[in-house]
Structures are given as C-alpha cells and as structure tokens.
Amino acid sequence: MPEGTLCNKKPIETAEGITTLLADKSGAKYYEEMKHLDIDSDLLWKTIQNTVKSRMKTWLEICAHCGMCADSCFLYQVNGRIPEQVPAYKIQSTLGEIIKKKGKVSNKFMRDTMEVAWAQCTCCNRCGTYCPHGIDTGIMFGYLRGLLHQQGFVPWELKIGAGMHRVYHAQMDVTDEDFVDTFEWMVEEYEEDYPGVKVEVDKDDADIMYTVNAREVKHYPEDLAEAAILFHIAGENWTVPSKGWEQTSLAMFAGDWAACKIQVESVYEAMDRLKPKRMVGTECGHAHRATVVEGPYWAGRPDGKPPVESIHYVEWLAEALREGKLKIDPSKRIKEPVTLQDSCNYIRNHGMKNATREIMSHIVEPGYFIEMAPNKEHNYCCGGGGGFNGIGLFRSQRNQALITKRDQILATGAKLVIAPCHNCWDAIRDLEEEYEIGIKWSFLKPLVLKMLDIPEHLLPKDEDE
C-alpha cells in the first residue's frame, strides 16, 4: 500500500484533517499504515542533491570516526553507553546510509531512522561543541527530520502539531479569538489586585509586542496574567497581536519546513502591521529558536534577523531588574537551595547564559543558587527537547533520557529548579512524577511576581481610606 489514509506524504491542511488524525488514538492506525508506506526514492535523492552541500557533505566526509562525540551525548551516557548511541554512528547509520544508497532505502529502514531521529537525538547540539572538526550532528538530525517528514515518516503527534500550525497558526487548536478572549479574561481576573492592569490588543507602535506559547492559552492561562502584571508594574508600553501571537513551532520539531515558514511569517506580519519597537517572547526555548534564531532564514531574510529586535523573556526580565523597572523585595528572595536549567535552545544556541544568571543574582539570596554541572552552553538537554516530550511512541525512551537531568539536579541538592523554558519545565515535571526526587520546579514569572516590591501607586487602594 503506497499512501495510507492517515499516514502519508501529505501534510495536514484542514481542521477536519486534524480531527481525523486525533481520533486515531495514540496513532495506532497511523503507525500501522506507516509499515506499508512507500518511499519516493527519486524525490528523496533529488532533495539530497539539492540541499546537501559544502557544510554537510564535508561533515559526513571528514568525520575522523574518533568517537570523541560519544561522551558529549547525554543519550549515550544514559543508555548504558552502547556504541549505537554515539552521535557520529547515529547520523552515519541513518542520513549517511540514505546518501550512500542514493535514497534507495526500505520502509523498515525509514521507520528505524525515524526512531533514531526523534528518540535518540533531541537536536540539543551539544556534540557539535565537542567535535574537533566542528561537526554538528544535531544540525544534521534536524535536516534528516525534514527528509523523513517529506516521506511521511514522522511521529503522529508531530504530524498533528505541524498541521495545527498550518491550520491555526498555533501549535494547538487555539484560534485567534480564543487567544484574545483568554488573555483579556485572565487579565480582568487580576484587575482588583493590580489596579490599572490591562492588555491592549493590536496597539500600534508599542515598545513591546508580546508573543506566547499556545499551551499557555490552553493549559496555563495564569502565565498570560503574570506576564501582563509584570509588564504593567514595569510600566511598559506593550501589546499583543490578535494574529501572529504564537511563538512556538512544532513544525520545527517535525521537520515540516513549509509549515515553519507559514508559522513564523504570521508573527513577522504582526510585527510589520503593528510596528512595535521590540518583540518579547515568553519563557520558551524552542519558541525563541524558531521565531528569532531560525525563523528569519525560513522567511528568507538575508540579515538573519526578525523584522524588529526580538528578545527572550529572560533578556527582558534581566533588563527590567537591572534598570529598576522591577524591584525585588530582598526579604522575599529565594532562601532555599535552588538551581537553574539552561535551555539548549537559547543558552547554547543563542548565547544568553549571562541574562539568566543576572536574574538569579536578583531573586536568590546570596549563597542559595547552586549551578548544575555542567552548565551554561555545556549543560545537558532536559531530556525532553526536540519534540521528545510529546511523542507517545517513544515515551519509555524519553523517561530513560530524563535520568541525566534527574542526576544533575540531585547532585546540586537543590529543592527548587527554575526552568524558563516550556520544554524543560515539562521534562522536569515529568521526571519528578517518574522518579519522585522531591523537587519543585517553576518558571520565572510566578516567582518574580511573588517577590516584587510594588510601588505604592500601583497597589490596590484600601477601601477604608
């Protein structure tokens, strides 16, 4: 059977398509159909010829097979150090083989490759920084995912996720109306506690255009309110767009490059329309990577930058604390052992290690912040990056992958883990659920909100006065 009804080479373009695929519980039929999916070898080989150029060709050719990448990979470390988990082996036995065979590979090979691409690499790019030749296997796995997606070999959840971006311009079925309504409603809930707090939608020429993760709208609406309150207290002139508010991209995890472009362009259109001075994104790693780091290239921008300066939430927060827009009440600082999760997507891959540490210096009582080892750009993936968290088929592999972070956290002795990244936050929540090590985990917004020294005029007036 060439193309299945659920598992095929066509991306999902309609809401009905999403509903149909979602109705196939855990993708049972989808994965069954995948076993019979044909490979379009000509298309695969043509794509490779057009896209594997200098950089990747050289990477694959000059790899000295020295194995120095092995220890850099947390998945190698945590899976019994089996040689099949060595990054160089993982990419050469998959992408390398496809190229060697000029695209003429079997269905079984492609299904095995799918497992390697999504369950044996989180595209954290750590190995790239440990290779003497500068071979970044994570980048090659990102590329390989694109080839697999083209051929229909993509995990069920990510096919749905990429479809969501095509249909809703969001990673979930959250419409623009849902977004605006939820944001306004959540902010209203806090009007009494924070008089004057409001969210202005589609305001032109604001200083900040704020973008979010659709999960916040659907599952964690408190996060939206917290963002609004913090902007309000900081006295920021900010807005949210009614369209183009979603910063994330499951399409990036899926390797659906066309959907990546559609998604990121929706955000850039909002920038062009509202002309804010800056965009600030929420506490999410891959969202930042997708919209700020990789997005400009998907959208064909030769300067490699979004239309307006775009920063991560931690950069905004560090700046607000530095400039005194937000003041921390020293008596409310964190006074228990606390550690910090460095998100691969904006620490290793966008150089923000100092911003998060600057924040820690404001919100943690001196002596209580304990660094993980290793940390900063050398930190390990949370264990759930690159879409790993969301793939049911690979849940047991993902749970195994969490052990690295668990042990890193245990070694710090910290009872609280600050994770300013949705993916890391989820992974750390799951590792607590799975391994019960007795920790708490948090984004920055709720923590900072609780320890603010709020100016008198922003506090609610006492009715007796």
Binding site: A64, H65, Y297
Partner: protein
C-alpha cells in the same frame, strides 16, 4: 628509482596535493549557503571572521577546549601525533635540504634530537590511537576500512623514516620506501579523509561563523569552546 621518486613523482605529488586542496578549499567556501546552512555569512563578515578565528584557535591549543579537557588521554595522543605529523615533514633538517634542492627554498628546522623525540612520540601516539580504535566499542563501531587505510598511510612515512634514520636494513630501499610513502600521503590528501589537513580549518571556521553570527556571537557572547 630514487631519481624518479625525487623527481617527477615528487613534483606530481606536491602539485596534486596543493592544487587539489586549493580547489577543495575554494569549493567548500563557495558551496556555503546562507539559506541552507541558515547562517547569514555575508551580512556579518566581521562577526563571522572573529567567530571563525576563535573556533580554530581554541581547538589548536592542547587542552584549550572543554572537548580536549574532558578526554585528556585522547587529547595527549591526538596532539602527540599531530605535532609530529606537522613538524617532522616540514621542519626536519634532511627534508629542508631536499626542499632547498628541489624548490629553491627551505623552512625553519628543528634539531635532530628534538626531531627524534617528537617522531617517537608521534609513532607511539598513533599506535595508541590504533589501539583505541580496536579496544573502545564507541570507536570500533565507527571504524571502517577507510579508517584503517588512512592510519596505515599516515604511519608508513614515520616507520620507514625511522628505519632509514637508524639505518636498519637496506638504507637505499628504506629511503626509497620512505619517499614513496610520503608521496602517497601527498596524493591521498585531497581525495581521502586526510583532506582534514586543510578542511579542518574550513569546517571549524564554518561552525565558528555559525556561533559568531547566529548562535550568540551578535549578542556579544563568546562561545566557551
């Protein structure tokens, strides 16, 4: 035989090596694509250059990177071999006498005792790397016939050179074998993994530009290699 090896074959080998690598070097950089690689090389030449230089320089220093420091024994073997592989062919007195005669110029030279020392270190390190390839499962799984070929080609000039140096066996034969094995290396450089002799700099420069431009460099963060 000696005349042929040190005459036409020598010039041919050197020519193939140099022209081959110039071609590959040029093709490498011409083939970089800002859209495929997702790095805006041309938009930020300054940041790219700085990132590239840093990325090369850090990795050339023994124990200069996290990568080298996390694997100290491997790093020792690596540098032990590569120091010999670079300085012996280029700086040995005998080689420079030969160069001056053939090409009319010579490079700086190292004393015989230093040369002996770094040659022996190189040989032992290469043998250690060979052993490592045989023993460590994470290296063995990657190893293919080409790797053994490259190892053999790289080891041969050292062994034949030492045999000639200590005049073990027939000196003329050893010398001819030594010259031949050196020329095989030159011929092999552009066409095998030995291309890393030059492409190491290209590949490292590329990742350096990536970090220097896209992954934090423009934010003023230097990658701690």
């Amino acid at each position: 035989m000696y005349e042929i090896l040190t005459g036409p074959v020598f010039y041919l080998a050197l020519g193939v090596c140099i022209i081959g690598m110039i071609v590959r070097f040029v093709l490498y950089f011409k083939g970089l694509s800002w859209q495929l690689d997702r790095v805006a090389y041309k938009a930020y030449p300054g940041a790219g250059f700085k990132g590239a230089v840093r990325s090369i320089y850090k990795w050339l220093i023994p124990y200069g990177t996290y990568g080298w420091r996390t694997q100290p024994v491997m790093a020792f073997a690596f540098f032990g071999f590569h120091i010999g592989a670079v300085f012996i062919p280029l700086c040995l007195i005998a080689h420079n006498v030969f160069l001056a005669e053939k090409l009319g110029f010579s490079l700086f030279t190292i004393s015989t005792s230093v040369a002996d020392l770094i040659t022996w270190i190189a040989v032992f390190c290469l043998l250690f790397l060979t052993l490592r390839r045989l023993v460590l499962p994470e290296v063995r799984i990657l190893t293919d016939r080409k790797d053994w070929g490259v190892l053999l080609i790289s080891l041969a000039p050292f062994i034949t050179g030492l045999l000639a140096r200590y005049q073990v066996g027939d000196y003329t034969l050893m010398l001819n074998l030594h010259i031949l094995s050196g020329e095989i290396v030159l011929f092999a450089i552009p066409f095998t993994k030995l291309s890393h002799v030059f492409l190491f700099f290209a590949s490292r420069a590329q990742l350096g530009m990536d970090f220097g431009i896209k992954r934090g460099g423009l934010k003023g963060t230097k990658m701690a290699w």
